[in-house]
Amino acid sequence: MAELEVIPENPVEQFLRMERIPHIWCAGCGIGTSVNCFARALIESKVDLDKVAIVSGIGCTGRVAGYLKLDSFHTTHGRAIPFATGLKLANPKLKVIVYSGDGDLFAIGGNHFIHAARRNLDLVIICVNNLIYAMTGGQVAPTTPISALSSTTPYGCYEPPFNLPQLAEAAGATYVARWTTFHVRQLARSMKEALNKEGFSFIEIISPCPTLYQRRNRMGDGLDAMKFYKQRSKIRNGAPTSEVAFDINSDIIVGKFVDRTRPTLLGTMHHQLRERLGEKYACVEEVACH
């Protein structure tokens, strides 16, 4: 009798709440691909998983926190970053990752993004950019390319989108990268670098929404998106972020654009308070609950 073949466990399963699978994401959606990359980055970064907290806002990508077997917080629309700010400041030993979508982070939450980058609080911000509000049915987002169709721009979008890497760099991010979900190895490597870097890191992931963006814009399914990304993407590490904006007809410039050092919020806070208060400064590693 032939022995049963033992199927090895998928190495990312340990990071997932398997009892919640199947997930809600559509066939061809890129969010799952990004989560797979994130799980691999967690393994390789060797961070203590009990000290990792993940915070999401609302939307399709907002559901990521709910599938990851980590301390995970599904917050309110646009407010993942300020929630993460409180979490990190009260317990600086935590590695805090904000994982959310383009509408959540850059429309309703845009102000929080620029302020967190300015402060250079030690956070990793992962933005899955599917160019649309997907959870609510495909409305225009601040990332939708000019002339693209959405349910609220039925004749084509006429607002220019944000260039997210440029916005992040200008606001103060110390690490800025962009990949598509075609670039899984590069994306996982960037995530690992961000996890091991101090300061405010930002990774944009251009990701397909076959159901609401591609279908309406006649761009095919998930596989067509991979072909499109492969064909249109140009890797330009170190490219000036002012040159990486993309529109519906241009190349998609991907790569690691910014990797620099700035004093972090916690570092400058301790320094300033020690300078002014000397011995009287009651510096605490962790804000305890009394």
Partner: protein, 385 residues
């Protein structure tokens, strides 16, 4: 347990209500605050920002009130006791996160030093016009606890009480001050730390494999864990099951909403604090709270000199509203007189709770200053007829 002495400034002080509130936060064990400047509440966080580096903890000024009101909740889940402070326009922005705290059962304190509204209104002048917003401001069904101090001493005492209630019932608690109480300077006695009772956070003793974030036993309040403790738990503002996972069904909604409302409703008599005086044998009872209770005190004395039997019911806990007590009193009196710095908010509650057994005479005031004692006196005399 009792207070951590590091945060307790034991002694006799001359403080305004805002500063007394900040000292109450420190005495209660708050080691994190996030705020956004807004008159007339800013002094609370100014004091906290000055004191907290000496005590051990963090203050951060956020980019707006939306951010402040959720940053404190991140801090709570990281292990801190935390609060934010605001006034009218900022209170409006914080509504969503009062709902988030109610839904996720995050213990935290929101302080509202009330000023005239609506909109920008009267930034530097008093009102009590956010009382219904305090009760109902966030969308959906939830119960809330709201306290109303009448003096700087009570700003200190009730702030500690607010933190203790938030931990006991795992709910946001609102401290509804007003500009007068916030800016009035009086004697404040801060007792020794060992005389200050602190309700500790309800942390679980269960191991991770046996713990579910929203499992409860008899008392309807689940136990907590903090991020970084190794539990790998999930929290969401979506309707959720005991595991904390989203559960999109009428059954899950019914179970959750009934529990989070029942945990406060069932405890209403224990939560309620009132000052009652001269109610037995009274013809008229004045129901008041906050700064207005102090004006009403004068009116009650004037009415008694004129021979009217007037009782006093001062609400230190406004929400949950003491329906049962108002209903009892209504059977014995002719009328309630309800002065407040709004166009009649708590008066509606008094009328509702008295079930027609006694008349309710509102004494509305649009705010900007307090009532004149004569205004309330007139209403008492009218009510006693």
């Amino acid at each position: 347990m009792t207070a951590d002495p590091k945060g307790v400034l034991t002694g006799i002080h001359f403080l305004d209500g805002d500063f007394a509130c900040a000292e109450g936060c420190l005495a209660a064990g708050a080691r994190f605050a996030a705020g956004y400047p807004i008159t007339p509440s800013t002094e609370v966080v100014e004091r906290f920002a000055q004191r907290i580096p000496l005590v051990g903890g963090t203050f951060i000024q956020m980019e707006d009130e939306l951010a402040a009101s959720i940053a404190i909740q991140g801090a709570v889940w990281a292990g801190a006791k935390a609060f934010t402070v605001t006034s009218g326009p900022g209170f409006s922005l914080m509504m969503e996160h009062i709902g988030y705290a109610a839904m996720t059962e995050t213990p935290c304190v929101f302080v509202n030093v009330q000023r005239g509204g609506p909109s920008t209104g009267l930034p530097t002048l008093p009102a009590q016009a956010d009382m219904m917003q305090a009760r109902w401001g966030s969308h959906g069904d939830y119960e809330i606890i709201a306290l109303s101090p009448s003096s700087p001493q009570e700003c200190f005492d009730l702030t500690i009480r607010a933190f203790n209630l938030s931990e006991q019932y795992r709910t946001p608690v609102l401290l509804m001050m007003d500009e007068c109480v916030g800016h009035m300077t009086e004697k404040v006695v801060i007792p020794p730390a060992e005389e200050i009772e602190i309700y500790p956070r309800r942390l679980t003793n269960k191991p991770p494999e046996a713990f579910q974030p929203y499992e409860t036993d008899g008392d309807l309040v689940p136990e907590m864990v903090h991020a970084g403790m190794g539990y790998r738990f999930h929290i969401t503002g979506l309707t959720h099951d005991e595991r904390g996972y989203p559960a999109m069904s009428p059954v899950a909604q019914d179970k959750l909403i009934r529990r989070i409302t029942a945990k406060i409703r069932n405890a209403a008599e224990r939560i309620s604090m009132r000052e009652e005086e001269g109610i037995d044998g009274a013809e008229v009872v004045v129901v008041s709270y906050g700064i207005t209770a102090r004006v009403a005190q004068r009116s009650i004395e004037l009415a008694r000199r004129k021979g009217v039997r007037v009782g006093k019911l001062r609400l230190l806990t406004v929400w949950p509203f003491p329906d049962w007590r108002v209903r009892e009193i209504a059977k014995q009196v002719k009328a309630f007189v309800v002065p407040e710095l709004n166009m009649g908010q708590i008066a509606r509650e008094v009328e509702r709770a008295s079930c027609g057994a006694a008349r309710t005479v509102p004494v509305p005031h649009a705010g900007g200053t307090v009532h004149r004692p004569e205004q309330i006196l007139e209403a008492i005399l009218e009510a006693a007829k």
